[in-house]
């Protein structure tokens, strides 16, 4: 490698292969990032890979990026916490009665 320069290009794509590698622009790269160790990434993605291999199903949930997923995660988390709180409250009320 002779030089590195910052550039801006259109589009943001990260196709994930079952193998975990890609050939891009003629060079070997990983589908993983420095944010998460490759081993951890492989473990976390294992259910999705297995689902695709077995059923052919693929999720598009992450295509818009994790920042787009944040509201959904927050909504689900809020629902879970609220549901748990209601369940605990109901159980306590039954015990008191």
């Amino acid at each position: 490698m002779r030089a590195a320069s910052r550039v801006q290009w259109r589009g943001l794509y990260n196709p994930l292969t079952l193998h975990g590698d890609l050939i891009v622009d003629g060079y070997r790269v990983s589908t993983f990032t420095s944010d998460v160790p490759s081993v951890v990434g492989a473990v976390l993605s294992a259910p999705l890979r297995a689902l695709y291999v077995v059923t052919g199903l693929s999720t598009t949930l992450l295509e818009a990026g994790m920042d787009r997923l944040a509201p959904l995660v927050a909504a689900v988390a809020t629902g879970v916490v609220t549901g748990a709180g209601l369940a605990v409250g109901s159980a306590l009320r039954r015990r008191l009665e």
Binding site: M1, R2, A4, L12, L16, T17, Y27, S58, M66
Partner: protein, 184 residues
């Protein structure tokens, strides 16, 4: 067309939005292009993007290259660098990012290889060095060797071309997200 979509999605930019889908790659319909003008900068705020630009060239199992924007779930892409006769292909099972709109920051690694003069990817994306180490693109320094896919033989002997790189994306847009930009 065989597309099954289940659950719901988010649609702030006209992106294809469903939680689960089953797509027949042979009859895949590209994501409709939004009519909104490209944004000057659209770096996601949560989770650093580690991806490739739309015009980066994937190598398919048959050795031909295709623009990243043309790759769909179910495509078989090359994953191995060498070993003649052992192409090493693997299926795309999902996208961690697939944003058509917006421009994003990348690092362009310029090499001394005239046939593959540069590799463009996000700063945090992992790339293999010649010595086998896997490092973030931001950590590659001049003098480092990259693992070049030297033994690829597109179509059993044809020449591999790089897709066009346009400063602000692909124009006309249909050629970017369809078969038009595949350098076959």
């Amino acid at each position: 067309m065989t597309i099954q979509q289940i659950l719901f999605g988010m649609n702030k930019r006209g992106q294809r939005v469903c939680a689960w889908s089953r797509t027949d790659a042979d009859t895949y319909v590209p994501t409709p292009q939004p009519t909104a003008p490209p944004q000057a900068q659209a770096t996601p705020k949560w989770g650093s993007p580690s991806c490739f630009p739309a015009a980066a060239a994937d190598t398919r199992a048959d050795g031909w290259t295709a623009a990243m924007a043309d790759v769909v779930v179910g495509d078989a892409l090359r994953v191995a660098v060498s070993a003649a006769g052992d192409a090493g292909a693997s299926l795309v099972y999902m996208f961690a990012h697939r944003l058509v709109v917006g421009t994003y920051d990348f690092v362009e690694l310029t090499t001394s290889d005239g046939a593959a003069p540069m590799l463009t990817l996000s700063l945090g994306h992992l790339v293999y060095l010649a010595d086998g180490r896997l490092v973030a693109a931001a950590d590659v320094v001049p003098g480092d060797g990259l693992q070049r896919a030297t033994s690829l033989a597109p179509g059993e002997g044809g020449a591999t071309k790089r897709p066009r790189r346009l400063p602000y994306g692909c124009a006309p847009l249909p050629a970017c997200n369809g078969a038009g930009s595949t350098t076959r």
